[in-house]
């Protein structure tokens, strides 16, 4: 049942009936003179072209694949990237889990890796409790910086239920049918567009809150991604961090790994290294300094998850 509003007098919107937006699709043939189109039509045309050419078929998070699949993409182009990929393989990083290149790839990669690593912990119950409490402890801070309860609650529920679902079939209203969450389920959840977007939104809120909580630390480094102009904390968070599709840079990486209390290691593939060595940049914020870092791989403008496994592990049975 959709909620119904009680009547509101005689206000009538009928004079403003609007045609279906699809009717506005511009029809062009080879003979069409583009100069005859209005700016709005040209924009429309360009957007249609982009929609048709940018593959939207890539899921938000993909299955683990051998890193050699990335290597084949660079064959015939940059020798330096290939050397760097080979270097990573030699270091034991044999797999890559792709995150869709839509500007949210860093946030999505990190929350996936954050949840997925719980499967490989010796004591999953401890890992689940500590991960959930890290997120939960953050909630009052989210409200303090001004996020509405409604927004905080709806975004928090999703990572919480996914993480708890690893050991507890009860709170899970998901696709697990009363069993605990398996890695396969986790992947499927992340491949759901709305679930993925809520997770990214929650990560962005946490990142924003962390930056706002330490303005003096972050302010000197805040610049507008397009213009390069310096920005204040509030503006930066509002326009660069909290908006979907805006890429993450060093500041956001630092803030989020600090907020989630994780060790994060990024393999930077710049395609410029002469000897093929890859530089790793570490953000160490786990309370246990020796904690295994979550590892991502960066290529200019894009983050994916780097893994030592080259394919999905078999679904892990629930712990006894």
């Amino acid at each position: 049942m959709e909620p119904k509003m009680p009547g509101f007098g005689d206000f009538s919107p009928v004079s403003y009936q609007l045609p279906d937006p699809l009717d506005l699709r511009v029809q062009v043939t080879e003979e069409t003179d583009l100069r005859s189109l209005t700016p709005a039509q040209l924009y429309e045309l360009n957007q249609n072209y982009l929609d048709d050419t940018v593959p939207s078929s890539q899921p938000p998070i993909s299955e683990l694949a051998p890193l050699s699949t990335l290597r084949t993409e660079y064959e015939g182009s940059s020798g330096s990237f290939i050397k760097q990929i080979d270097f990573l393989i030699q270091q034991g990083y044999e797999g890559i889990r792709r995150s869709r290149g839509d500007g949210d790839c860093f946030y999505r990669s990190l929350i996936f890796a954050y949840i997925e690593r719980i499967f490989s912990q010796e004591d999953r119950k401890v890992a689940v409790d500590s991960s959930v409490s890290t997120l939960q402890d953050f909630l009052p801070r989210l409200r303090e910086v001004g996020f509405k309860d409604m927004v905080v609650d709806e975004s928090y529920e999703i990572p919480r239920d996914l993480i708890r679902g690893i050991i507890d079939p009860e709170p899970v209203s998901m696709s697990t049918n009363g069993t605990t969450l398996t890695p396969a389920h986790l992947l499927r959840e992340f491949q759901d567009e709305s679930t993925s977007k809520y997770l990214v939104t929650f990560m962005r809120m946490i990142t924003s809150t962390q930056i706002q909580g330490e303005p003096e630390t972050y302010e000197p480094f805040l610049t507008h991604p397009d213009t390069g102009e310096t920005m204040g904390v509030k503006d930066f968070c509002r326009i660069v961090v909290e908006v979907l599709g805006k890429e993450a840079d060093h500041v956001q990486l630092t803030a989020l790994s600090q907020a989630l209390k994780v060790n994060l290691k990024i393999a930077y593939l710049d395609g410029r290294s002469q000897d093929g060595r890859v530089e790793f940049v570490s953000f160490n914020y786990a309370s246990d300094g020796k904690e295994t870092p979550l590892t991502l791989i960066y290529r200019p403008g894009h983050y994916d998850i780097l893994d030592r496994r080259s394919s999905e592990p078999l679904p892990i049975n629930p712990s006894p």
């Binding site: 509003m5 609007l18 709806e154």
Partner: protein, 158 residues
Amino acid sequence: MSVVYSRRLKKELQEIQIEQADPAKRAAGIQLLQADDLKTWYFSIEVLGDSLYKNETFHLMVRFDPEYPFKSPAVQFVVSDKVKPPIHPHVYTNGHICASILGDDWSPTLSVMAICITIQSMLASCKKKELPEGNDDYVRTAPDNPKKTRFVYHDDTV
């Protein structure tokens, strides 16, 4: 779990209805006129206190994309026999509004009420009632849905 997108809108509507019933919580000058479904809502907006729009009331139409809150809603002033849009450097005579919060700077952490308040304060801070530059050209060629316009955001503080 495949979250249903409309769950946010239902919650927002509930919250607005609760706020509207309570003068202590209500955003002054903003009133929900109609929300028969989860597709199109109407609000009335007045600027209280001293402003160029004293004693004027405007109607705002908010249309939701099925992917709300991840996509911004289409927001415009209603133009009809009964109500006219405000004369403002960011408001075209067809009711379209040029404000970055409705486009590039939309965030799913915002809400419909946040939009109404932003637009109300955009009016409150206006220094001179004038139409946007190129209003006639824009209105002649504008798409029906303002979200299809690629606005160049000038100064949101005007």
